[in-house]
Symmetry: D2
Subunit: 396 residues, 4 copies
Amino acid sequence: MIAGIIGATGYVGAELVRLLCGHPEVNDLALSSTSFEGQLLSDVYPNFLGRVGTKLLKAEDLIGESDVVFAALPNGMAEPFAERCMDKGIPFIDMSADFRFDDDEESYKAWYGKPYTNRDLHKNSVYGLCELNRGKIQEKARPSGLLSAIDGGKPEALIVGNPGCYPTCASLAAYPALVKGLVGEGTIIIDAASGVTGGGRELLRAYHFPECNDSLTAYKVGAHRHTPEISRNFRKMESPEKNRDGAKEYPAQMENERPIIFTPHLAPMNRGILATLYIGLAQKYQISRHDGASPRPPTKEIETLEDDIRTLYTQFYQNEQFVRVLPKGLYATTGRVRLSNYCDISTHIDQSGRTLIVTAAIDNMIKGAAGQAVQNMNIIFGFHENSGLEYIPALF
Amino acid sequence: MIAGIIGATGYVGAELVRLLCGHPEVNDLALSSTSFEGQLLSDVYPNFLGRVGTKLLKAEDLIGESDVVFAALPNGMAEPFAERCMDKGIPFIDMSADFRFDDDEESYKAWYGKPYTNRDLHKNSVYGLCELNRGKIQEKARPSGLLSAIDGGKPEALIVGNPGCYPTCASLAAYPALVKGLVGEGTIIIDAASGVTGGGRELLRAYHFPECNDSLTAYKVGAHRHTPEISRNFRKMESPEKNRDGAKEYPAQMENERPIIFTPHLAPMNRGILATLYIGLAQKYQISRHDGASPRPPTKEIETLEDDIRTLYTQFYQNEQFVRVLPKGLYATTGRVRLSNYCDISTHIDQSGRTLIVTAAIDNMIKGAAGQAVQNMNIIFGFHENSGLEYIPALF
Amino acid sequence: MIAGIIGATGYVGAELVRLLCGHPEVNDLALSSTSFEGQLLSDVYPNFLGRVGTKLLKAEDLIGESDVVFAALPNGMAEPFAERCMDKGIPFIDMSADFRFDDDEESYKAWYGKPYTNRDLHKNSVYGLCELNRGKIQEKARPSGLLSAIDGGKPEALIVGNPGCYPTCASLAAYPALVKGLVGEGTIIIDAASGVTGGGRELLRAYHFPECNDSLTAYKVGAHRHTPEISRNFRKMESPEKNRDGAKEYPAQMENERPIIFTPHLAPMNRGILATLYIGLAQKYQISRHDGASPRPPTKEIETLEDDIRTLYTQFYQNEQFVRVLPKGLYATTGRVRLSNYCDISTHIDQSGRTLIVTAAIDNMIKGAAGQAVQNMNIIFGFHENSGLEYIPALF
Amino acid sequence: MIAGIIGATGYVGAELVRLLCGHPEVNDLALSSTSFEGQLLSDVYPNFLGRVGTKLLKAEDLIGESDVVFAALPNGMAEPFAERCMDKGIPFIDMSADFRFDDDEESYKAWYGKPYTNRDLHKNSVYGLCELNRGKIQEKARPSGLLSAIDGGKPEALIVGNPGCYPTCASLAAYPALVKGLVGEGTIIIDAASGVTGGGRELLRAYHFPECNDSLTAYKVGAHRHTPEISRNFRKMESPEKNRDGAKEYPAQMENERPIIFTPHLAPMNRGILATLYIGLAQKYQISRHDGASPRPPTKEIETLEDDIRTLYTQFYQNEQFVRVLPKGLYATTGRVRLSNYCDISTHIDQSGRTLIVTAAIDNMIKGAAGQAVQNMNIIFGFHENSGLEYIPALF
């Protein structure tokens, strides 16, 4: 099968190339680039020398040749390509924010400053957080459930909005707690840091080596575009039954968004996102206050609650091969998931017994972008979900 | 004047040497080291070649020669040296946790696993967060207020417990909000990251280059020893009048500690602490809820509140030469305070209008350790507070 | 097939595990560790969580279970294991220096301070620089040439001394020039730098993050143990016909060693070796001196020579899939071979037209250690030489 | 006194600001910037907040206000400013290459692509490698020798061409060997690496964090513009008597340039240059060949020669406060001179006894640029040579 990548010379595009080259079901790649059209990929990325000599096409020419199309373009450019793929019956996986908001045009417009031009596309798109929406994606891709890639059947055309890097990390960190009703009403705080590849290939002062090396900074405090995506994910996760009957009701204005605070930071490393979440426990899960002198519950009670929640997380993710709930004593660390599709998670209870602290680590370019896109392709086509994603991270 | 440093070959000790060498009032240094006694400092630290050839003495021999003594020892070892200095009438500035808890032996014991051996020492010690306790230190050092270093008068003997690195950063970040009553009742969250020098000179796996380079991790979640120090500082800051009459009352068990959650991280850089604080605003400072569809107040109202709080912070610190409240648009960044005694602070309001987010950056070895110790010495002796601390950070 | 790794918890051992897990012909691993015997590998290396749960055995117990044995031990410990493998007819690939000197016990002893205990083992061992000794390894492993792994035939027992990291990089950089007779009589200078993983897992001050981060240093100038290995390789390469008749003659004392100067440096990065070689050209290849004012030949002549030599290198390595001779305008860069088995090479002529400057980059842990060991295993067993080594490096 | 800096918003300009702020004789700064004219320096460099609020002027307006002018401009732009300063009798210190070649217009033109527009300026300029040309600078600045800054006398107008970063490091490394005649006729090889600030403030792909972090590369092999500057310095150093009678004669075309090979590398660190020099010893200093089996002289003889040369270097530099010849066992390391004006040097003899290997480290922005410029200012004005340059490097 041939995989097409529109925008193959951005960082996410280049990672897609790298991963798809090692995918057992992908025989060939069709690549496009506006800036480098006509050149070879290895002219732009010398790491591909001797491996990917593919010539960079116009995006238009690529679609016809491909069995699946990935678009790794700046936000706001995906619709026309999605439309063409739908017309031709080709699955379309979009790496930008354009298909992450389903039919909620208002949120998209508020944060990305642009209305939808073709609303129908968004009605049929699926948000591609695999662990959350695997079922939906499978359903759209193979409505009858009878055809499978193994039978040689092609999946239906569909549009997947591949999640943002921070939202992937934050959402996987909170998912079990939200879906199991552990979470109280308050604001969830997500304090996260990303490696510099998160800023992409564009040359900006903030990413000039001497100005970010050996230094840590916050940025876009309370104003990062990934905020509404995280917030929507959280709400969906705590209301899984919503689309059915008897769903929990929120005030209209809160229906789609969990109150959150999201603060991103820039860390002096190439890859990785580390998110630390502060999640207030629902009253019934909090350790009850004791009368007496101490403001804190006994250590033993905290440990028990901590063990219980770790067990709950571990069981929740036991069939997910890319989510690793860490054993006691370990903390999520970006270096240990580097270049892999893993999300490592550790859970902790604060000393007051009322807040769940979750740390989660992903490689922002893999599980946070290209890896999850390949995972989505695998789901769509009915391949083993880890095809092309078997890389084991090195510790160093 | 001669400054003595007990434990001059640890990282903090070595930084003290470096700073005191450039101090206009310090003519000579007396240095001690248990591990390297008899050697020259430059044998251990080749960066001092040609500059500090001082021989490393026994700690005992150093005290007699010094006009001020700094102790940069592991926790739990300072008391005997403090005692000797008090006997000899020499100011003693301790870099460990041993004198950071005043007479609150219980907290010290709970977190550092050791009782006090001489309680009287702690009754008379002062916690050396300069911006908070400048007055107290001056009072202890020059009770009459008539003598000054300029007159050649020597300060009284006193013990200063130099603050921890994280507590310094977190406390300066929260101080104006706490003292001005902006803060609500809830838990304050401090999410912070430190450079690897925070771990000191000891060779531990976590600080082996290949295992921490290009990687970010959380550690000691909810269990770091700086927690009670931060918590105490916050409580003191919000009850400044406490020691006088009419002070605000807290439940007995909360009297000394503000509920906080503190999560430290390890960042792949040499120096610096970046702390991000989430501080719930007191009801009256929150932006009032509007009826209607939006869960968020108008952007304009958030900006106004943000401006007001930035102004409040700026005015509060206007006479502090080492605290810089950043203008709108800038975020605290460790690289911009590297090697300096500055604490840079930026303030933000989250989009719900209810939480104050503060980011603060210091160099953990300078304002977070050796620099603040020198600042304390300056206060004790009545020198210009920035003597020896004039270094301007480089951006790169 | 089952691969055994003695010393699986050192850095090189852990890399072998990682690579062999992805090897299509390896079904299982048997791992040993002296320090962590009885634990799981993932207890020591959390990056393996969910992937390699193998229990760490005694080395003795591992040999019986394995079809091939890798030893990743400190220098001086391999002989007894090699002996046992030879007895049992199992190929043995040694990562230490113990089998890199063939029967030249004198050199080994001079540099590693230890005599051989079983000389016969060394008579039959092969030095495993694949590009140089592929033929010899194949010959030893399958003497008849009739049996192949595809036929299910097992290879003969043999011992491979896997090359050092610096020697691999330096030797591949010089090989075409030496074998083609381009090189003059003078000393070849190798100026190289390694990432910190080169120092292994042991906690040494030089590898403590704050003391090597953001800093570059030379070390062991003129005294690094890889010197004689490089020197021997160079001599072998320029006298390929030596073991046959009519070989070039060198003075007895120079017969085995090319005069070289090798200076290693430590660079603040995890992985990678960059070597820059200064190779005096043989008279006939130098650009001839022109009479007249300029001390330098015309740029055009330099460019022509440069093109010729690049072509020669390119052709020489055209069938080597792991050596990439870079096109004009590119320089070898460690980041572009990171985690891969590639050696990237660029060739240049200095402005006097008399010196060939070669830059070469490898990942010290892969082509410089574990990757090349797997390549050797592939050669021994007749697998595709890139089996398990298909990883494409990322640029970032 | 007022110091003017033309081009204060480049990296070198900003470093000059930082150093001059701490200079005891400088009362005020006048700063110019073409790109940021009218803004405050701290708007461009937030590290200066609270310290340098100076408004950025037009270069033209600055000259009249200044007692000394530094120009930190791109190459090829200094002449008109130099001219104006000469007219007004103000010392002019140029950080670009424009005044590094004295009256050798040909070399300048060959490497920088531009002729001189005012040759007279270059006849009177001095090359500002302080350790080499201190005397010349003093002579030009105070011809009578009677006036001194202490007497309030102003120095004469003069132009100093501040050396390049690589040439400073390489030249100090070779100086004692060259001037003492230790060096043979052959080519001297300089293999050096620089931190990324060496590339300045301009946003180039090579300096984009994700593409240079954790990676090492060579660049401009045999073609770096610092080559002729190094080469000229070496020739001057080995012919100190040249300008007098009886000077050593070289062939016309070699009169000004020592044959050298210079290879720069880019290392993943902010600051620092590490240069490793390979200098063939003159015959009489080589350890004589012994008959017999060994290709190498006895270790003892090498050590003796090594000690002799270290002593020679140490004595040569004993009165230079910014050059530190390291004791036996230490290697030059950029981290140990970081942010300081030091040049650390270590000397070694290769195992054949014929090549002197020198490693030298500087901070490229300080001794390699702004620091040396301040040192030149101190020489010109008769200040203590270390005024404003007392910073002791931190090890970490």
